[in-house]
């Protein structure tokens, strides 16, 4: 008995001219999962989403919705909902007609349409705005209408293509929480495309990181942050990362241009990178209880509110250190100060390069 996935892509490939936009992508998305496709622009994430929607035809591979091969099924016969990047609300219809559009296409009885539109408006918290024209709504409200329109048809899968991109920061942060709540409430698989890791991290159950049409890693936000499978994922995710490249020999000891670095137990052997997140680094004048210790000169100190970001020059290599929980000016190292930085070997990770 194999598990049924809400969406399954098998070896999907899509070319635009000579460019391979989606390169042998394999995805298995579980039922009711909030799944994000995350990557820099041009990585193929939107094309992948459009292939699931049927708006693009793959050159190779199979698309399955709930176990059923839909590769050759046109969009309007797939039971999907989609929220577009620029929302694509119908400008000649009011809020009610926009949301009712999909139900009318399904020949739902009038009374039921009324009831369902009302419910959908409640879910997105836009009660009473049925008769507004869409251009009379704010960006955030339009966003909610687009979401309600896609949800009201009770799709098997909801596809979202960077829907928060056009909103300003405050509304965006608010909508992130809201989207996640809505997803929990309606119990539908959400597939969310974004280039913004905060959005992906905040909402997703699992994330697929894409680059150049290929999937780099699939995992939970924690896995992707702390256990990146390659240096691209390590440096793409998180505000910053420290990567030291070297050669790991016996006893998990790495030889680098900075000297010896002690790596966690059972590290890989050979050429590798050791990754330390900035918040895992300690900074001070007399550090103890660290496995790796280097002396450096503070090059820059940037106060960021809840933490200070230090850039420390260690023999020409810049380390980024995030110091949290500062309690007064005495511990603020000004540029030019000689400091020690260090980390415990178990706070780091070795990645093959």
């Amino acid at each position: 008995m194999s598990e049924i996935y809400s969406v399954e892509l098998i070896d999907v490939l899509k070319r635009f001219g000579n460019v391979v936009a989606v390169d042998h992508v394999n995805l298995k998305i579980r039922e009711n999962e909030f799944f994000s496709l995350l990557g820099p622009s041009g990585c193929g994430k939107t094309t992948t989403l459009r292939i699931i929607a049927g708006l693009e035809e793959p050159d190779e591979g199979i698309v399955k919705l709930y176990g059923e091969d839909v590769t050759d099924v046109p969009t309007h016969k797939r039971n999907i909902g989609m929220v577009f990047q620029h929302l694509a609300l119908f400008p000649h219809m009011n809020v009610f007609d926009n949301i009712a559009f999909g139900l009318k296409m399904r020949k739902t009885p009038k009374e039921e349409i009324k009831r369902k539109v009302k419910e959908a408006l409640e879910i997105v918290k836009l009660e009473g705005l049925e008769n507004r024209r869409v251009n009379q709504l704010s960006g955030g409200q339009q966003q909610r209408v687009a979401l309600a329109r896609a949800l009201v048809i009770e799709p098997e899968v909801l596809l979202l293509d960077e829907p928060l991109g056009a909103l300003d920061l405050k509304i965006r942060q608010h909508m992130m929480v809201e989207l996640k709540n809505i997803q929990r409430r309606v119990k539908t698989t959400f597939i969310y495309v974004t280039h913004d890791q905060t959005e992906a991290m905040t909402m997703s159950d699992r994330i697929a990181i894409m680059k150049d049409g290929r999937i780099q890693q699939i995992g939970t936000p924690l896995e992707i942050y702390y256990r990146p499978s390659n240096t691209f994922v390590a440096s793409f995710i998180g505000e910053a990362v420290n990567l030291i490249i070297g050669e790991i020999g016996e006893n998990n000891v790495m030889n680098t241009s900075l000297g010896t670095v002690y790596c966690p137990e059972q590290s890989i052997k050979g050429k590798a990178a050791v990754m330390v997140r900035p918040e895992m680094l300690e900074i001070g004048e007399n550090l103890s209880q660290v496995d790796n210790l280097f002396k450096g000169i503070v090059q820059a100190a940037i106060f960021k509110g809840s933490y200070i970001e230090y850039r420390v020059d260690v023999q020409g290599t810049i380390f980024i250190v995030h110091k949290h929980g500062i309690d007064g000016m005495e511990k603020f190292y000004t540029p030019g100060t000689l400091v020690e930085i260090g980390w415990k070997k178990n706070s780091s990770l070795t990645i093959p390069v």
């Binding site: 929607a53 708006l55 309007h76 694509a88 609300l89 400008p91 559009f101 296409m105 048809i153």
Partner: protein, 291 residues
């Protein structure tokens, strides 16, 4: 000099007036003034010595209105223009739709190919159509000689000829505004409709067509207004039974040389068309323009 320039630069009203002056002067001399003269004639305010008198009367209007043939001519003009608009829309919409939606590269080339025939003078195009429609035209000769038809098709000097040539002459006025409108249409709206379960036909009827109303309206006006007042085409390819209002006005001015009646008929016809256009814009326009 410098202070004057500075004054002009800083004063928006002066700037706007200066910018608008050339077209306004041009229109005043070549449009408003002649139009007012026609108006004065129609109210009998210019006598046979071409002197302005200030004793307006409606005699010429009542003469025109009491003429029983007028209604028929008005209706025929409307009929010709209506059929022309309908055919232009039926032919023009698919053309504009095809170029806008289906042509990926070289859209401009398609549009230019479509416009090129209209670089030729309107009169020349009409004469060219005459040589095609004529009973002794090369088409009729060929069709008869290969036995496809027994006797030459007679189109010249019929309603069909007038409408055919009008459609040919005015089609571009329908296609261009429609194309401009469809080009602006956000294609993701069509994708959105399909994700909501609309098949291509429904998507067209519920999304594309309503959103192209402004283009249809612009095309309608651009074709309807010149064709309802058309007089060259019925004069050249129509017979005496295919006369339109323009021909009658021409006859009264140039044949009967009765400028007063001609002016009154012109004014009445302008009022008639203007009220139709206003009603049309009100009913279809508001919805279209609101987008």
């Amino acid at each position: 000099m410098d202070t004057l320039l500075k004054y002009i630069r800083r004063n928006v009203k002066v700037k706007v007036t200066l910018l608008l002056a050339p077209p306004l002067i041009f229109l005043a001399i070549w449009f408003y003034a002649p139009f007012m003269i026609v108006g004065l004639y129609s109210f009998d305010m210019i006598n046979i010595y071409r002197e302005i008198t200030f004793t307006p009367s409606l005699t010429h209007y009542s003469k025109v209105l009491s003429w029983t043939g007028a209604a028929g001519i008005f209706l025929r003009s409307l009929y010709f223009a209506g059929v022309t608009v309908a055919l232009c829309l039926l032919i023009g919409y698919p053309v504009a739709y095809y170029i806008s939606f289906k042509v990926k590269k070289y859209k401009d080339l398609f549009i230019i190919l479509f416009i090129i025939p209209f670089w030729v003078s309107f009169l020349l195009r009409t004469y060219a159509m005459m040589s095609i429609l004529d009973e002794r035209s090369i088409f009729n000769t060929i069709l008869v000689s290969i036995g496809l038809i027994n006797s030459p098709i007679k189109i010249m000097y019929t309603d069909a000829a007038v409408i055919l040539v009008m459609v040919y002459d005015y089609l571009v006025m329908m296609v261009l505004p429609l194309y401009a409108n469809l080009e602006k249409l956000d294609k993701s709206l069509l994708e959105a409709a399909s994700t909501l379960g609309a098949d291509p036909v429904k998507t067209f009827l519920k999304v594309t067509l309503p959103l192209s109303m402004p283009g249809i309206m612009a095309g309608f006006l651009l074709v309807f207004i010149p064709s309802v007042g058309e007089f060259v085409i019925p004069e050249l390819v129509g017979g005496p039974n295919n006369y339109m209002v323009g021909n009658i006005i021409y006859e009264i001015f140039m044949g009967a040389r009765h400028w007063w009646t001609g002016s009154a008929l012109s004014m009445l016809f302008i009022a008639f068309i203007l009220s139709l256009v206003i009603v049309y814009v009100r009913r279809v326009g508001e919805r279209g323009l609101a987008i």
